[in-house]
Every structure is written in structure tokens, then in C-alpha cells.
């Protein structure tokens, strides 16, 4: 057996000093030489454990084999058989805890960089399409109609899969562009919107009809969709309602939910204000509260918009942070200041009602709580104040209650999530499936895609028996 090559090929990134001032993509991706070098490290082990770590079952070993055979078109086809959004997944999936964690080389600390390979293949297709990519065969129409509500990762995946099975799919989106959190949430420098748009266009090219500006529950309700000719409905409306801290001063000017801040910046392109009409307040001293990917995204946006000091304020310590390690490292390199074991007590404002300071507690960690992480406890008398003029609250989101409130017979939890079978996405309401953040609460792009995929398979089985 050939000697194992444990030299994972690094990916070039923009210099932190430069990228902190622009919205261009941070990670520059492999070139052809790098992609081949990395792919050649794959030992093509017989059990391909990598696929078991993939929520959408991509045949990873096969697409790597195709790369090694210089057949990028084939690699595209293999990936797209299972995953309609490879350019997105290659960039934002937490591969380190999924496919790459299962790689045979993971225990040598050198798993194949599957995400980077996937990204390269998707980008290769975008640059070469359609001349060299084989067209997928048009499926035979089944005559069944499916409404997919929400065009984020779950909805896009379910819609594409169902269309590929020959169903007549309409995808409803409340905002003015499709993509959900991929468009309004994840910033340009981590996931260029052009890539999201290309993959949305791909889903449309599979025959999915896209209806933008369509707020289901306000125009048609789910029941009206079912009564107007749709045979099944998939709910992938995400977790759209921002959570706040519920502490004094939280409604001062300059205090944003991460959803609002990111929507202004990403969806409405406030970083191009006044060329684009939507403004955003940047501030000199920005505090982002929270330790997840959304907190990292918010902080790094604020930095790029020109803030002098950007703080991540997190109540636990570095090891408990839920954000991807890579994003934390990126943020640190760019100069984001991390204040661990710190939790806001109240916000202080001036006579214009604008936030000027944030009084915080120092925290210490106690016994593990329900989440398995050590519970943060405020230290008595430890209060101190940080000067801030913009605060971004990135504590997570809960489902928008609109769908549940307007749909008869849907079961919801106390957290507002919709109850659906984990394996099939079926809800207790006949003809209605759900998946993604609306079921799980805030999670990842790929887990939502996995749920969309499983639901599509079950909807297909259901429709086949109608």
C-alpha cells in the first residue's frame, strides 16, 4: 500500500489586514493543481465512511475518484445527484464535524478536505456550464403538485429533489429574493450571493416554479394550498424570529438583532449605502452578543463597515463557543476582540435614546446544564461597563408563528417549533411535511438540507400511492 499522504493542502485566504476592509470572499478556494493534490490523498477506502457523515448522502469517494480521473463534469453529476447546492455546502457546511470527521484519515489529523473539493467542483461547473456538463434527463411528469414554503436550504433541497422526481413544484418565498438565510443571513465574504443565485437558478432549471414576495399564511394559508390543488405541502420556513436578552435598555437606538443587522447588510446591501437606499449604523465601538456563527458573521460585517473596535461578548469561555472553529479563527485574525465569560446586565443610553454603554457581569462556569455545556453564573459585584454605540444581539431565533397560527391541526412545541418525524418530516397534519429550523430551532444549513431531502423522499412515496 502506498504511503499515506498526511499533508492536507491549505486553502489560500485573503490577508486579514486587507479582507477586514472589503466584502470579497475570504477563502479563495483551491486552484486546479491544489484540488488534484488534495484529491490524490484519498485512499478510496472500501467502506467510504465519509458518506455516512453527510446529511444528504453525497457519494464522496466517487466524486473524489472522478476528480482524480480529471473528469470534473462527472464529479459535478455525482454531487448533484444528491446535493443541489454544492457551491453553498462547500463553503458553509461544518465538514469538520460531518464528512471529514468520518474520513479514514481523520484519526491522523489529516482528513481529506472534502468541503474544499466540493467547492472547487461547484465553482468549476459555474465557470464551465453548460458547455461540458451533461444535462440531467427530464423526469416523466407525475401530475402531482407540491407546495414548498420557504426557499432556504431545506426548501430549495426539497423542491429540487421533488422536481427531479417529476412532481410539479411551486416554491413560495416571503422575501424578494430566494435563498432565505443564505441570502439575508450569511455575508457575502463567506458565501457570495452570486453563488447562491446560481444554485437557486439551478433549482428553478429543474422545473421548480418560484413565487417571490409570497407570505404564506397571509396570502394563501396552508389549508388553502391543500384545497387549491396541491397534493402536499412542505414547510421550510426556518427560524425567523430574533431572540432578545430581555434586559433594561434593549430598545435603545443602535441595538440590533443579528437578523436585522445582517438583513440590512446582506440582503439590502447597506454596505453600498447610499448607492443602495437601505442604511445601517456602523458605530465606532460595536458589541456583538453571542458565540455562534451568526455572531461571528455580524462582528466581521461590522468590522468591514468600518468600526474601530468590534467585541464578541460571550457568557461562556472559548471552548464552549458554538461557532465553527474556522470562523472563530478568521474573526480573531481580523482583529475582533473576544470578551469571554462576559454577559450584559443592562444597556445605557444618552438623551437621544442612543446606546452609549453596556454594563456587564463577569461570569464563571458552574456545573453542566441541559445543553451539556457548563452553566455560566454571574459573579456578584463584578459589574463593569463597555463603551459601545452599536450592539448586535445574536442569541438565536425561534420560528415565526405565522404558519402555525394560520394552519389547523399542526402540532407545535412550547418553543414554537413544528413537530415533525425526524426521519420523514411528516407532521401530524395529513399532507403536510416540515423540516429545517422550523422543526429543530436554529441549526445548520446542511442539517436543514438533510431534512428537506428526507421529506422529499417521503413526500414522493406518499404521492406515489395517491
Amino acid at each position: 500500500m502506498a504511503k499515506l499522504n498526511l499533508n492536507r493542502v491549505p486553502m489560500t485566504r485573503q490577508d486579514p489586514k486587507v479582507r477586514g476592509k472589503n466584502f470579497d470572499e475570504v477563502a479563495l478556494g483551491y486552484n486546479e493543481e491544489q484540488v488534484k493534490a488534495e484529491a490524490s490523498r484519498c485512499i478510496q477506502c472500501p467502506k467510504h465512511p465519509c458518506t455516512t457523515g453527510c446529511p444528504v448522502d453525497v457519494d464522496i469517494h466517487d466524486f473524489i475518484k472522478a476528480i482524480n480521473e480529471d473528469n470534473f463534469a462527472e464529479a459535478v453529476t455525482i454531487i448533484k445527484n444528491k446535493n443541489s447546492l454544492p457551491g453553498i455546502c462547500g463553503r458553509v457546511c461544518p465538514q469538520e464535524t460531518q464528512c471529514e470527521a468520518h474520513c479514514a484519515l481523520a484519526n491522523k489529523d489529516a482528513p481529506i478536505a472534502i468541503g474544499r473539493l466540493e467547492r472547487y467542483v461547484a465553482d468549476w461547473e459555474r465557470q464551465n456550464n453548460p458547455s461540458t456538463t451533461p444535462a440531467t434527463d427530464k423526469p416523466k411528469p407525475t401530475g402531482k403538485r407540491v407546495a414548498v414554503v420557504g426557499s432556504g436550504p431545506a426548501g430549495l433541497t426539497a423542491a429540487a429533489d421533488l422536481a427531479k422526481m417529476g412532481h410539479d413544484v411551486t416554491l413560495f418565498e416571503a422575501l424578494h429574493v430566494a435563498g432565505g438565510v443564505l441570502m439575508y443571513g450569511i455575508p457575502e465574504f463567506r458565501l457570495p450571493k452570486e453563488i447562491v443565485q446560481t444554485e437557486v437558478d439551478y433549482v428553478s432549471s429543474q422545473g421548480v416554479k418560484l413565487e417571490l414576495d409570497a407570505v404564506i399564511g397571509k396570502i394563501d394559508t396552508v389549508d388553502e394550498l391543500l384545497n387549491s390543488g396541491f397534493d402536499a405541502v412542505f414547510l421550510g420556513t426556518g427560524a425567523g424570529l430574533p431572540m432578545f436578552l430581555d434586559i433594561p435598555g434593549e430598545n435603545l437606538n443602535g441595538i440590533y438583532s443579528a437578523n436585522e443587522f445582517l438583513t440590512r447588510v446582506n440582503l439590502m446591501k447597506a454596505y453600498l449605502f447610499p448607492e443602495y437606499d437601505t442604511p445601517v449604523s456602523v458605530g465606532k465601538n460595536v458589541a456583538v452578543i453571542g458565540g455562534g456563527n451568526v455572531a461571528m458573521d455580524s462582528a466581521r460585517c461590522a468590522l468591514r463597515l468600518g468600526a474601530d473596535n468590534v467585541y464578541i461578548v460571550y457568557r461562556r469561555s472559548e471552548v464552549e463557543m458554538p461557532a465553527r472553529r474556522e470562523e472563530v479563527e478568521n474573526a480573531m485574525e481580523e482583529g475582533i476582540i473576544f470578551k469571554f465569560l462576559t454577559n450584559p446586565k443592562r444597556f445605557i443610553g444618552n438623551d437621544q435614546n442612543w446606546v452609549t454603554g453596556m454594563e456587564c457581569y463577569e461570569m464563571e462556569l458552574g456545573e453542566p446544564d441541559d445543553s451539556g455545556r457548563r452553566r455560566p453564573i454571574a459573579k456578584e459585584g463584578s459589574e463593569f461597563t463597555i463603551d459601545v454605540d452599536v450592539v448586535i444581539v445574536a442569541l438565536g431565533t425561534t420560528p415565526n408563528p405565522l404558519i402555525a397560527a394560520t394552519t389547523e391541526g399542526l402540532d407545535t412545541t412550547s418553543r414554537g417549533t413544528v413537530v415533525a418525524d425526524e426521519n420523514t418530516g411528516r407532521t401530524v397534519k395529513p399532507g403536510v411535511w416540515a423540516g429545517g429550523d422550523i422543526v429543530t430551532g436554529s441549526a445548520t444549513v446542511i442539517s436543514a438540507m438533510g431534512a428537506g431531502k428526507r421529506a422529499a423522499a417521503d413526500i414522493h412515496a406518499y404521492l406515489s400511492e395517491l
Binding site: A174, L175, H176, Y184, L212, D213, A214, V215, K218, I219, D220, G240, L241, P242, F244, D246, E250, N251, N253, G254, Y256, S257, N259, E260, T263, R264, M268, K269, F273, P274, E275, Y276, D277, T278, P279, S281, Q352, N353, N400, P401, L402
Partner: protein, 278 residues
């Protein structure tokens, strides 16, 4: 794209568009709003629904030229189209048989109050409407509002038409009068709504106001429109826009509405200089 079917210039600076939006029209109810975005570079702004025609599939909006977006909107003509027109958003106004309802409209909110007054009357209420404007030249839909009201009182700040003074004066007289007033709906500039609510408070008459904070998505996603009502934070876009006027933290609303004064000026100046150079 949503085509403008009809444009009417009601008074200087205030315009009416009838927009083709069949889905919105099919579900619109009094008190709801739409979010519009003119084009790719435009911002999303909320506008209340003034009327709808389900058969025609149209929705009528009335707007005043205030900032960049409304000035840009005012340049559009019948036949032009608006990129995005999303709705009907927010909860409809609670329409019930209350008895006697006073509908108070400040400025161009006469357009917002119209469908509410109409629905209240259809429900069997006696409707007394009060409409106020700065001066005679800004009065519109007087006959329309009269046609859905049992009684109509018109005021102007300068006395150039109708009764001189603010809408709160006749409102107070009605409350002091012999007739029992069961509910007041007050819609207009925030300060007018605040003083209407303050006027009715001593009389203990339920007073509904329609709040107009800054919004982005209008569907509950961003929290930009948060207001404090009865000490609780609410999102005007999904919990409102109608709220109990006696419970609203008005100072917070005013302050939050001023969040972007500098940026609004910057945006408007830039737009004007662009227009000048054309």
C-alpha cells in the same frame, strides 16, 4: 413586478397608486399594510392599504413624499411597475359592533382610516369621523369619508377650511358630550396619535392607534419595528400595527423613528443631486 394601474395626485405631495396585486387584493383587510421595494437598489418600506378591489385584483396605496423612497415613488406613472409589493401584512384592525366609534385621521391617514370606517359602519356601528389637515390645500377624500360616516368633522390647523384647530379638540368635545363613545381609532402622525390617546385616556374609552415604526422585512424577522406597549416589547409588523394607544411608550417610538435621520438626509441629498444633474 407589480404594475401601477392608476395614479392620482390627491393634493401636492400626496399621491394615490392603484397597483395590480391580485393575491394581496384577495386577502387584504382594513388596517393591514404592504411592504414595497421600488427596484433593485430600493429599500423596503411599509405603506398602509387604503383600498382594494378583489374582482380587479388591485390594491390602492396612498403615500406622502417624505424621504428618498417616497420621492422616487412619486416619479412613477400609470403603466410603470414596482419591483416588490408584499402583503397583506400585519393584523387587520379589530372590527366588531362596539356602538359608536370615532375614527380620527391626521393628514394623509384619511386614506388609512377609510376602509376602517367603512368596515366599522358595515358592522353596524355609528361612525363619527374627524379628519384634520394643516390647511385647506391638503384636504382630500372628504366626500369619501363622509360617505362611510354618520357624521364628519373637518379641521385645519390654520382654519383655512372647516374648523380651526387640531383633531383632538372635537374629539374631546365628543367625549364630553351626551353620546356614549365606545371606541376611538386614531391614525396619523405619531404625535397626533399620542395626543389623541392622551385625550381619550381620562374618559376610559378604548383607543386604537396604528403605529408606524421603521421596518425592514415586515414579516417578524428583524425586530427593527419593536415598540413597547404596556411595558412589553412588541413587533409592530406582526403583533400590530394596531395597539392600545393608552399603553404605547410614545417617546420610545419617536426616538426609534429618528434612528436614521443623518442617513436619511444623506440619502435624500444624494438623490436630489442626481436628479439635478439629470
Amino acid at each position: 413586478m407589480y404594475q401601477i394601474l392608476l395614479r392620482e395626485d390627491l393634493v401636492p405631495g400626496i399621491h394615490l397608486f392603484k397597483v395590480a396585486a391580485p393575491k394581496v387584493a384577495s386577502k387584504a383587510q382594513a388596517g393591514q399594510f404592504v411592504v414595497i421595494r421600488i427596484d433593485e437598489k430600493g429599500e423596503r418600506i411599509p405603506l398602509t392599504i387604503a383600498d382594494w378591489d378583489r374582482a380587479e385584483g388591485s390594491v390602492t396605496i396612498v403615500f406622502m413624499e417624505v424621504g428618498t423612497t417616497t420621492h422616487r415613488l412619486a416619479l412613477l406613472k400609470a403603466g410603470d411597475a414596482i419591483n416588490d409589493f408584499i402583503g397583506p401584512l400585519g393584523l387587520p384592525t379589530h372590527i366588531d359592533k362596539f356602538g359608536t366609534v370615532v375614527c380620527v385621521a391626521g393628514g394623509f391617514a384619511v386614506a388609512t382610516i377609510m376602509p376602517i370606517a367603512r368596515s366599522m359602519r358595515q358592522k353596524g356601528n355609528k361612525v363619527i369621523s374627524i379628519m384634520g389637515a394643516r390647511n385647506k390645500d391638503l384636504i382630500f377624500w372628504e366626500d369619501e369619508l363622509r360617505s362611510v360616516s354618520d357624521q364628519l368633522i373637518v379641521t385645519t390647523d390654520d382654519g383655512s377650511y372647516g374648523r380651526k384647530g387640531l383633531v383632538t379638540e372635537p374629539l374631546k368635545e365628543l367625549l364630553e358630550g351626551d353620546e356614549e363613545i365606545n371606541r376611538v381609532i386614531a391614525i396619523g402622525p405619531s404625535v397626533m396619535m399620542k395626543y389623541s390617546a392622551l385625550t381619550t385616556e381620562p374618559f376610559g374609552v378604548d383607543t386604537i392607534v396604528s403605529l408606524n415604526p421603521i421596518m425592514v422585512d415586515g414579516t417578524g424577522m428583524c425586530g427593527c419595528c419593536r415598540v413597547s406597549v404596556g411595558g412589553e416589547t412588541k413587533f409592530a409588523c406582526v403583533d400590530g400595527p394596531d395597539f392600545d394607544g393608552h399603553q404605547v411608550d410614545w417617546d420610545l417610538l419617536f426616538a426609534r423613528q429618528r434612528s436614521y435621520l443623518d442617513e436619511e438626509k444623506c440619502s435624500f441629498d444624494q438623490w436630489q443631486s442626481q436628479m439635478d444633474s439629470k
